[in-house]
Subunit: 575 residues, 2 copies
Amino acid sequence: MRTVAQQMLRTCNKLMSRKTPNDVIEAHPSNIETAAQMDNIQHLPSPPQAPSVRASVRHVETVERAHHGGGWLLSGIICINILILGCALVSGSAFNIVAITPEQRQIFLIILLLLTMLWILFYTVFTSRKDQAVLFKDRHAGPVWLRAGLLLFGFLSFLIDIFKIASYVGYLHCDSAVKVAFPVVQAVFLFVQTYFLWIHAKDCVELHTNLTRCGLTLTLSTNLVVWMTAVTEESIHQTEIPDLNVSVSQKMYKASYVKCTCSHSMCDTFKEASYYLYPFNIEYSLFASAMTYVMWKNVGRIVDDHSHYSVKFRPKDVCLGPVTGILLVVVGVVTFIVYKVDILKEDEKRNHALLIHFIMNIVIVSMMCLSTVIGCIIYRLDHREHVWEKNPTRSLDVGLLVGASLGQFIISYFSIVAEVATGAQGYLKSLNLFWAVLMVLQLSLQNYFIIEGLHREPFRVMQEAALHTNAHAIQEHEMSVVLKSRKSSYFLTSSCGKPPWKRRVLKEVCAFLLLGNVILWIMPAFGARPQFAHPIEIKFYTFTMWATIVNIGLPFGIFYRMHSVASLFEVFLIC
Amino acid sequence: MRTVAQQMLRTCNKLMSRKTPNDVIEAHPSNIETAAQMDNIQHLPSPPQAPSVRASVRHVETVERAHHGGGWLLSGIICINILILGCALVSGSAFNIVAITPEQRQIFLIILLLLTMLWILFYTVFTSRKDQAVLFKDRHAGPVWLRAGLLLFGFLSFLIDIFKIASYVGYLHCDSAVKVAFPVVQAVFLFVQTYFLWIHAKDCVELHTNLTRCGLTLTLSTNLVVWMTAVTEESIHQTEIPDLNVSVSQKMYKASYVKCTCSHSMCDTFKEASYYLYPFNIEYSLFASAMTYVMWKNVGRIVDDHSHYSVKFRPKDVCLGPVTGILLVVVGVVTFIVYKVDILKEDEKRNHALLIHFIMNIVIVSMMCLSTVIGCIIYRLDHREHVWEKNPTRSLDVGLLVGASLGQFIISYFSIVAEVATGAQGYLKSLNLFWAVLMVLQLSLQNYFIIEGLHREPFRVMQEAALHTNAHAIQEHEMSVVLKSRKSSYFLTSSCGKPPWKRRVLKEVCAFLLLGNVILWIMPAFGARPQFAHPIEIKFYTFTMWATIVNIGLPFGIFYRMHSVASLFEVFLIC
């Protein structure tokens, strides 16, 4: 009787997790996002394949955590407090150059960076070396491309810090030493954090869980405060007050250094060079935040990582999409350079530059809309199953995608309202309106395409699953009708497969959209601000309000493009 | 063999859902929040108790939805688009009195209201009457107190519309008829929607799922746009430009009616009266939004509602908490009235009013902090199990709680930064700083207390579960060691019970905090704006920026208090 019971329990387990070839099993919750996610945790018993040591650890751990489960709540509260204090300080120092000096803000940041490094040190030296600290790894977390991106952006951020140090050293005789200390500390932090995330991004920490949760939210909030600072500095640098053509930062810069001159001749060059690298530093902070967040979600998580499949990147599958995409990027970069040069000239040249920029953007966005529509049609024709297994990395991907797209949505809708209310006369106005409408359409379509794509069963896994299901079909003949019919419908779907042309078209669409997003990232990230070159919205909303909308919305819009590139790459691999 | 297998399957099912006495079983996802929640869906087979018709419906429906599951994505996109367009129009008309007139905004709202009513009509007449439309009800959704609140606030909102109609009819001879049409349409909408939510709030819709999802997000976004409009109007009304003592709305009002006089004498009275009722209209929209959102989450959800337990409200359990709380509310209301009267007078009286207001708030917040700390200590002493069953209503509760608290957090931190940076000299400054610091502490503690409380096993259920577990203990003797030991630890925890004094203290704390939140809701909801009466932040951040921070943060802060009252009431019932 006992063997029969165990046999049946195993079968039940298999059935429960039938839809997911990669069983991800959660022992106890202990994770919360907006806390909205707290309730959707599966309480499945351990799969019989797992070694007995895991089972016992799980039991001890479940009991232990039931009584000390406040860690995630405490760490969430710490995160909110650091973030909002950081937000107040950063915006205070941005809008008020007298009362909160940049030095005070930098001291706050230095304290945060040092605390974070202390925790990282503690984690790598003490926690992670213990035997029972990390029994499981989440194979979805920290994929190679994310870690490679982190390394690349980390290196470029390191360059910014070098430039900053070189520049501010020239002012040391008459300015605060904090301005040199901050980039030094940040450079060390970049090394420490990149090493930490490179090694530990996949860890599901089982030891010192409460401390680890708090440490991870500290790291997360430090990265987000650094991101806020960088975004604010970049926005101030890029915001030109109309009719003056002098950016706010230049004015502030002039005001603060009016009596303090650089002791070497390279100051301005270093400063200017560092601004060109800012977009990479912004992306570095976001990459690090995303990886830290996934680690936080994975604390105490029990993942069964025995069934691993790998999806390989085979660029030769596609041709038309990448070629058109690369062409688009090249043409986009050329027009962008023309725009950057001409926009600073007199009125006629300026309008010409805007005209080219608008037309180029409309062409890009229209082509992207068209290809996304084709992709969505293919999805309707294609009857692949959806994957709903628990996966914090994908949840975060989707959440960030939708959240970040709101930034561009807001800018576009405010633009549309202003244009329609004032009556779009003149070709520049009409083009601007058309661009904004197309952008809303493109964002909606692309969000649909990516989210739908991320939740599809990977092609290769489907074939394996079909074989697997076939083998088990006879053995499980006694099971209830409902389960059997669901299984066979699944089997039918999989074994029929998908004609190769559908896969190919989807891959082409992904590749094209990916490159489209690259060019839409390059333009605003490197300083295209047609929003301020064009007077309608500024007149309609007043400069302060419009600058606030753009400076809050655009960083999210830029991040959205970058994030879409990553997500589309994953969809490309899946389909 | 077949009977053994079925028996085991049943046992497995029971074990899987052992922790939750009220099995909530999800057939297929089809729900998304920030989409972050999408991946946490349980794919458990149907419980054996369910009638066979349910099983077959589920099967058909699962297959059907696998192929047409884009409805939630489409409805989400519709929601985002309506919301952001609404946001642009509302803020455009608030900041720009020339280009977007209130009439244009009202026409947009009328269209939204009419479309929503059309869908509600379609749903009540066609969808909900079909046999297979609503097979399940979510007993967590739309509890009595929420529906009663909806009815009450709906009635008060109806009064506002009556007042508005009476007031604007007086201007009909020289002003747009849209101003009368809007409250008329809104009054009808209030009836239709309140009826709809009263009857259908618990529905888990199984028919026309895609259309229903879109209809529900339409209703959701309409309510949120109405909420935004009300909040903006209320904020403009309450924002006094410093040194003028004339509110912006009065100026705008005077400007727009400079040549148009009311044809009857009661215009100003009706207008003034309607402003006192605004807080209730704001709450009505939020209540309706919350209920609609839960309905949206429940579309296509399969809930096993056979095991129902009821928790009754027994106010005689507690004494000290409510008495102190009521005392606090009474004293608070008295000082609030003194504040409202004195704040409009000359400098000395004004400072006196501020002093009393600050001291009163500090006393309230300190007492709340103290009682929350006591509550948290009791939680540590009390070893009740946590509940992690899927429950959209609770997920929403927690998400809204944390989200709404950010509003007050932001105001407090910005205040702290301004006070510290300028050096808090003088008793008013020191009190303001102290209040802000205490507020941050109180928010953190209260969030912790409520979230922890909402996730505790209800007391009565624990006792029942203990008996139940006991009965099954021998029968399931053959089960694996892990499962058994987990079960017995659960049994031990429950059967030991909790000494009554702990329960009683928790209930006292809940009751006191509930009333504390009521008075903290009353003050800002009925127009206390010490943020604008006190010059430090205005000087520090400039008036525009500070007004933006307060006018965005405070509506969330007010909602937070109201929502805390509801959540604390639930915690009171559970503990």
